[in-house]
Subunit: 437 residues, 2 copies
């Protein structure tokens, strides 16, 4: 029986699942039942989710959680977080509480410019191309006037377009570098529509440009697409306090501050450390990206490329001791939206935005940067004091217990036992075995 299939997308959801049942589940109904047990009982709500993308057969649950006590620019936030990894939300909450008592987080949007390119081949005389671009530039901007109207009303639109010569890197390769302001939208559809129109007008006008020879007129556009590299869409978040006030029952403030700064220096110096260091930042940041219906692949790509911009992949956060003050900060590129896309479609995204008190895109950039910074603070704090495993395994204990199908009594006994004992997967198995035998 062949697993090849034609016209699959035209089957309805149940037919798709039945096809899986026949070809991949060996008629084992259990898997079908699991898929169906995740359908929402409200069929209209379920249909909405089915139509987000193609070939949907169920809803994948990711935990929707909240981290309270984030003081950002003197306003208190509770942050919605969607993430599957245990201990991240607990760590964010702990960091928020820690800094709540020390003045909270300061955040500031440094810039909001997005960009995209029309990539094209041109093997003719460069001066003619420059002259042509100068002539055609107003016409290019005019060509998108129609579908820029809505964006303009919201304070956005095309900012500028420039001709960039990349022939030193690749023969005959130029692009039109276009910059945009997209207000509260992430703006991908707007930008891509503009770029495709620029490309069309650019080619048409080239055919009519008298300065070109007949071969020069045949400019070949390779592709037109926004860039997720957005170093001109930058947000900064910071915490600082007197070193003395870092002292807690666990550690002395100066010792902590110095070890913390050293840990950041190491993440600056060593790419193998920097990658995991930044991954920790993204644990917090992506959880907000997901909860607010933004695109984490876009954010991840832009952030990590930014981390490598000096030619050496490095930490996105910085820390310093200046006199009697400890300072810890991040600067990070984030192109995100609070309108458009899933934001007005996914009911839980609406809830998340309500929890965040209906932020603008700029406010959301600040909230995300703060969550990333808080997460990094919590991770580095754990690493340089107790080690990461102690806290992580405590949080992970419940997952291990669920794997072992532990009942409520077994769970309580295990949690009590491991209060002061090192948790490992095998130690938990052994303890549960001892309870059961």
């Amino acid at each position: 029986m062949s697993k090849k299939v034609s016209g699959f997308s035209k089957l309805n959801k149940t037919q798709k699942i039945d096809w899986l049942l026949e070809h991949y589940f060996q008629e084992n109904e259990t898997f079908k039942e699991i898929l169906l047990s995740y359908w929402n009982s409200n069929s209209k709500l379920q249909q909405l989710h089915d139509e987000f993308i193609e070939n949907t057969i169920s809803n994948f649950y990711l935990p929707f959680a909240i981290a309270p006590n984030f003081l950002i620019n003197d306003k208190l936030f509770t942050i919605p977080m969607v993430i599957e990894e245990s201990s991240v939300v607990a760590a964010a909450s702990n960091a928020a509480k820690f800094w709540l008592d020390r003045g909270g987080f300061k955040a500031e949007v440094l810039s909001t410019t997005k960009n995209g390119q029309v990539h094209f081949n041109y093997f003719g005389d460069k001066e003619k191309l420059t002259a042509f671009f100068k002539t055609v530039k107003p016409r290019l901007i005019e060509s998108v006037a129609d579908f820029s109207k809505n964006m303009k009303k919201r304070g956005g639109g095309v900012l500028d377009i420039q001709l960039i010569d990349k022939t030193a890197t690749l023969e005959g390769y130029y692009h039109i570098h276009c910059t945009f302001e997209t207000a509260d939208a992430m703006g991908a559809n707007f930008i891509n529509s503009c770029l495709e129109q620029f490309a069309k007008t650019f080619k048409e006008e080239a055919l009519k440009f008298d300065g070109f020879s007949s071969s020069e007129k045949e400019i070949e556009v390779v592709m037109s697409i926004l860039s997720n590299y957005v170093p001109e869409c930058l947000v900064r978040a910071e915490v600082s306090c007197k070193i003395d006030s870092l002292t807690t029952p666990e550690f002395e403030g100066h010792y902590f501050a110095e070890k913390f700064v050293r840990a950041i220096q190491i993440a600056k110096a060593e790419p193998r450390r920097a990658v995991t260091h930044n991954k920790g930042i993204m644990n917090g940041l992506d959880a907000v990206v997901l909860a607010t219906g933004n695109d984490f692949r876009a954010v991840e790509a832009g952030v990590h490329a930014f981390a490598s911009r000096t030619g050496h992949y490095s930490s996105l956060t910085n820390a310093e001791i200046h006199g009697d003050t400890f300072r810890f900060w991040i600067e990070i590129p984030l192109a995100v939206g609070t309108v458009g896309g899933l934001t007005s479609l996914h009911p839980l995204v609406k809830v998340a935005l309500a929890i965040l008190q209906k932020p603008t895109a700029k406010e959301l950039m600040q909230i995300m940067a703060v969550t990333g910074l808080a997460q990094n603070f919590a991770a580095v704090k754990s690493l340089i004091t107790t080690g990461i495993q102690e806290g992580h395994m405590k949080m992970h204990l419940m997952n291990i217990l669920n794997q072992l199908n532990a009942n409520t009594v077994e769970k309580e006994k295990t949690i009590a036992y491991f209060q002061n004992t090192t948790i490992s997967h095998s130690a938990v198995i052994a303890f549960i075995d001892s309870l059961r035998n």
Copy 2:
């Protein structure tokens, strides 16, 4: 009324939501109802999901979809994908079908070594440190024998530990670079537990080492943690075919192949393009990462750092025309697991792994790399032919219709109307308005 809160994690789920209702929802019950409408009616299943992480209040739905017709190393796969972005699953399915007729995908795991470091400060004589490390190395490996037992049974364990001098970059900074094989597990907990034990033994033994002066004995471990940079855990996926067989009714094979290779050259040359190019790869890859219960932040960080390894952020895929053959391939670092973590816990992850015919970690690496390559093929194919917006907006049309609360008749009429008309957000609004007035 203050939004500060103490002991929040100890409230139960309903109490947490009621606290939100009071402090953030202005007693608007609608938001509470939405949160509750996403709870699973099976309370035992719901409790399982609640316990994955901390402070959970609901389940965030991401669409769970499937893309059939992936021929990988002559075996047919249907790939489970979890993603919120429209058009990704359709694009993956199209690319799979395209290559199904042209020999399918070949994939190969090149290496599976994971790594982690014990980062420490030492300002003494380097030769003494080298001598100490030589002495202590067997004892370090011995110290983790106990909790390596299970991993060894599965064919994994510690591979090697090495002393690395980083003092040229940062004064007094060394690390112990440790390599691991973790079989079918991603291995984060195992690796971190080993590293923390190495650190403990290393410090203890240093205090006893006669070769050190009293200050040299006080080695300060800054932190011990795995690295998500895994260039020694590498998988390769490839498609190739005769250029003639690329010809379709849409385009001629040679023209397509040359334009495709040019698009890849541009993504190699220009970081602004490379970032979005690689983002497209991750659209497909992360959807499998999520569906199989793996950690997309870890994968993203490792992949993008790898893309910048030459000091210049660049495309992860390559394409060439060699004689009459077109070849397109990817090499990408992926540390993922098919046991441990969420894989044995999340019922839908179990379904996803069943759809993938219970892959080993190596097979999963191949499947993920193929999905990334397929996604990139589909994206570049769109970009260099019709443009990205045409296909994307067709897929996105249903989302726009749902935003406008279109009913079934309105949806059908709109889809029919936009079959041959350019879709934009405002054009759809205008058309729906025309239907309604």
